[in-house]
């Protein structure tokens, strides 16, 4: 069902990660991505892995659930990995078939590349698994607040995001209902060539659009009637609270970035023989 696509992400349990401030989680994710791209060797990447595992454990989301999120980019991952493997040059030839040559450096780079992407996707998935969409938009709004200085419509953007979220389940229900109704009238969405299938979508799309416009109009009236007049003089009820959990997260991720930089600099001094073997480029 369509429902799973949207709600499949948030995993409702109570945990350290679930309870921390969405703003901090967003910033932590950015810090994590930065750290992953700073990492230029396996040692700093391993540090990223350790932080990821700690976060997964603290989130109490089953590991399988987090891993499943990687499925979405699996094709992309395999495709780029194969390209890297075949076209990465190097000195130590491992295998050759015609013009295709695989070097040891290519293998090491590919593994590094895959792991980095893997951690990145899992880290982002952890954010959406532990943060309800509503909290996420609140977090984004709060983080964007400084942009008000350059007249960026932060409040309007946040309201649009909030309304979009609010209407996703409603419109999914509506879509399901329309699909069922047209199927009951013999519509076939599963067979035929691509053009036939695109044509088959019209009986769903048109009623859905019309209904969305009707809803928008009614919502506009309802908002007007509830005294909405833009962001001027408007107050805000919801306040995000910064707690002790967030301090821990900030410290952890500050540590991660520092650690990644230090490991980049001193990597060749840790087990030099191993490092020499797995060094990149």
């Amino acid at each position: 069902m369509l429902n799973d696509v949207v709600f499949g992400q948030y995993y409702p349990v109570k945990s350290f990660v679930h309870k921390s401030d969405p703003r901090i989680k967003l910033l932590a994710l950015i810090a994590y991505i930065v750290a992953l791209f700073l990492a230029d060797n396996f040692y700093s990447l391993a540090l990223g892995f350790i932080v990821l595992i700690m976060a997964v454990i603290a989130s109490r989301v089953p590991l399988g659930r987090v891993l499943r999120s990687v499925k979405a980019i699996l094709v992309l991952l395999v495709f780029t990995a194969v390209l890297n493997l075949f076209f990465h040059g190097g000195d130590n030839l491992l295998w050759q078939w015609g013009i295709i040559k695989i070097y040891r450096e290519g293998v090491i780079f590919t593994v590094f590349f895959i792991l980095r992407l893997f951690f990145l996707v899992m880290g982002s998935a952890l954010l959406t698994l532990t943060t309800a969409p509503v909290e996420l938009t609140d977090g984004i709004e709060s983080l964007l607040t400084p942009l008000k200085w350059i007249r960026f419509p932060v409040h309007e953007l946040a309201l649009i995001m909030s309304i979009a979220l609010r209407f996703i389940p409603t419109l999914i229900d509506e879509t399901n209902r329309i699909i069922s109704a047209q199927k009951a009238r013999g519509a076939d969405f599963e067979s035929g060539n691509i053009f036939k299938r695109i044509k088959a979508v019209i009986p769903i799309l048109i009623p859905l659009l019309i209904s969305a416009f009707r809803r928008a109009e009614e919502l506009g009236d309802a908002m007007d009637a509830r005294c909405y007049a833009g962001s001027k003089k408007r107050t805000k009820y919801k306040k995000l609270a910064f707690g002790w959990r967030d301090v821990i997260i900030v410290l952890l991720f500050a540590g991660l970035i520092t650690g990644a930089v230090l490991l980049n600099v001193y990597a060749d001094t840790i087990f030099p023989e191993i490092y020499e073997y797995i060094r990149l480029g």
Partner: protein, 612 residues
């Protein structure tokens, strides 16, 4: 020394006219003069398109009048400087609860109004608490509206409006999309706010029973106010209401009928009052114990080749996810071919899931393409598989021709007009026909479409080339039904076919279904939460509760078990309510639950007893 005079009137309309742009001289509101006093509870009734909703939007400046003057709490609505103040003091709750909410969490949504008028944070908190408490939804403060029932959502919408602390509350058909329980919840809240908080209430409604609760009722027709008075006064002249395309409340219908037989009952509004009135008349006529004969069972045709048999039907949504919901929990049900069958149950009881099995929109697990028989461990009992047959179709078999099943089992969903899509009425109606039979010649298609459009009561030549979106609400619904019956299905399933229509529209839709049933449709199955609708139309009905079929019987027998129905949180038809009270005083009226039959039986008992 200019002391501000507090105006006594909440709203004053003085000869107000309004027409929608592009509609020329056709006034939606045509010369309305109306005064609503502070603290008054006013109900406004009128058929679809009579101008009721336009009236509501004029009050707070969502629409601007073309002529005349509107004053709200002493403020002139036309003066745009007053608009903000007026919107603060006039709250409107609209029809569709889904389309009034801006936030995904209840308290954030209720906070929206107070935030807009710039209240400080702690005051907003207090208002949320007060408003949610006033509508009895405090415990849902942190819930998400998507998982609430219609009535609960609408109460949240009322709370969102209340949080701004309006002095006037307008409900613009706010109960039209709710089930009876939800409707009762909202109406109770509103009545209490009027009585206890002194809020002026304007209730715009299609339900005559709701209109009765007001201090005063106004009837609108073609943009004009045609009648005004206490509900009793309004409903006394039934002929007038019929001219304005309205119906009498059922209770008034019964009283009027009893009075033509000389029982001389007072016009009352509650079933208890009517029952005690009848008892009093019987007692003064010296009748103590009376039992009416049972009515003849309704004529039922029998078409056994279209029997429907359901066994062990179980269904769970989002299986294996944290949001799994068990919708059906072992349904066993026999629907005899030829009946006019009713399915009763709350929102969320599993009714909709059940009917979607009937034409394999939801397939039985064995009929799924990927189904493999599970290996059964030795010693453990074999798993019970559901079975479902509709006529000669076995829905548990993968090889069944599901396409011709769908052509034979027509399904009309709730608000089917929202599924119209084609450029012309003709194309929309022909859609199903072309899907089911791709090689049908053009003449045959035209013949079937014409027949179908005519049977739903529309003029074929007039509407066939029109865009379905240019039709009125009632016409759209007819076109949508025509699009389903165009294949002449032998079993027709309808989910809330009359929902959201005005009383006359409801009556016409039910008449249409009876006509189809008489002509070529073997079985009609309607899902409804209107008990009176079931009582008056069905030959048999089933009650679905918590995914199970709890009772399946004739309406007379089902509604005779009042206590059990109340325990399930369901209502009974008005007639059963009155009969129940009468029975306690020794007057047993065995009617078939329709107002006419009930009145006839009571009259017969009254006359028979008085003669003896």
């Amino acid at each position: 020394m200019s002391e501000k005079i507090q105006p006594e009137n909440a709203i004053v309309f003085d000869n107000v006219k309004f027409s929608y742009p592009g509609s020329g001289e056709a006034y939606a509101v045509n010369g309305v003069s109306l005064t609503v006093k502070k603290g008054e509870f006013l109900s406004v009734i009128g058929h679809n398109g009579s101008g009721k909703s336009t009236l509501a939007r004029l009050v707070n400046g969502l629409l601007e009048s073309d002529a005349g003057k509107i004053t709200v709490l002493g403020l002139d609505v036309d003066d745009s400087a007053n608009r903000k103040e007026i919107r603060k003091r006039v709250g409107i709750v609209f029809q569709n609860p889904d389309n009034q909410m801006v936030a995904s969490i209840v308290e954030d949504d209720v906070a929206f109004g107070p935030e807009n008028i710039g209240l400080p944070r702690d005051e907003i908190g207090r208002r949320i608490e007060w408003a949610l408490n006033a509508v009895g939804m405090s415990e849902y403060r942190h819930a998400t509206p998507a998982r609430l029932s219609g009535g609960q959502k609408q109460r949240i919408a009322v709370a969102g409006v209340l949080a701004v602390r309006p002095e006037i509350l307008i409900l613009d058909e706010s109960t039209a999309m709710l089930d009876p329980k939800g409707r009762r919840e909202v109406i109770e809240v509103v009545t209490r706010l009027n009585k206890e908080e002194g809020i002026t209430v304007i209730l715009i409604t299609h339900f005559m029973e709701e209109a009765l609760l007001a201090d005063r009722t106004v009837v609108m027709n073609r943009g004009e106010i045609v009648l005004s008075g206490t509900p009793e006064e309004i409903f006394e002249n039934g002929e007038m209401l019929e001219i304005y395309n309205l119906c009498l409340p059922r209770i008034t219908e019964i009283i009027n009928k009893l009075n033509t037989a000389g029982m001389g009952l007072e016009q009352v509004l509650r079933p208890e009052e009517l029952a005690s009135g009848i008892i009093e008349r019987f007692n003064s006529a010296g009748i103590v114990n009376a039992v009416s004969p049972h009515g003849k069972p309704r004529p039922e045709k029998s078409v056994p080749e279209w029997d429907i048999d359901i066994e062990n039907l179980t269904f769970t949504y989002s299986k294996k996810s944290p949001f799994a919901v068990k919708a059906l929990n072992g349904i066993n049900l026999h629907i005899g071919g030829g009946g006019f069958f009713g399915i009763i149950g709350h929102t969320g009881s599993g009714k909709s899931t059940l009917i979607q099995h009937l034409n394999a929109l939801i397939r039985l697990p064995q009929a799924e393409k990927r189904y493999r028989r599970k290996r059964v461990k030795k010693g453990s009992p074999a798993p019970v598989l559901p079975s479902l047959t509709v006529g000669s179709f076995n829905l548990a078999d993968k090889k069944t021709d599901f396409k011709s099943l769908r052509a034979s089992v027509g399904m009309v969903f709730q608000y089917p007009e929202y599924q119209l899509f084609a450029e012309s009425v003709f194309d929309d109606v022909a859609f199903g026909l072309k899907n089911f039979n791709k090689k049908l010649p053009a003449e045959e298609i035209e013949k079937a479409v014409r027949e179908s459009i005519e049977i739903v009561g529309l003029d074929y030549n007039e509407v066939k080339d029109k865009s379905p979106f240019d039709l009125s609400g009632g016409q759209k619904r007819r076109v949508a039904i025509a699009g389903v019956i165009v294949t002449k299905p032998r079993v027709l399933v309808l989910d809330e076919p009359a929902a959201g229509l005005d009383p006359l529209g409801k009556k016409e839709i039910m008449e249409l279904l009876h006509k189809l049933h008489r002509e070529w449709c073997s079985t009609v199955i309607i899902v409804s939460h209107d008990m009176d609708e079931i009582a008056e139309n069905c030959t048999k009905a089933v009650i679905i509760a918590d995914g199970k079929a709890v009772m399946c019987d004739s309406p007379e027998n089902i509604f005779g078990r009042e206590e059990e129905l109340y325990a399930l949180g369901l209502d009974v038809p008005l007639v059963s309510k009155i009969s129940g009270i009468l029975a306690k005083s020794g007057i047993t009226v065995n009617s078939n639950c329709t107002p006419e039959d009930f009145a006839d039986k009571v009259i017969a008992l009254y006359k028979g007893g008085a003669d003896a």
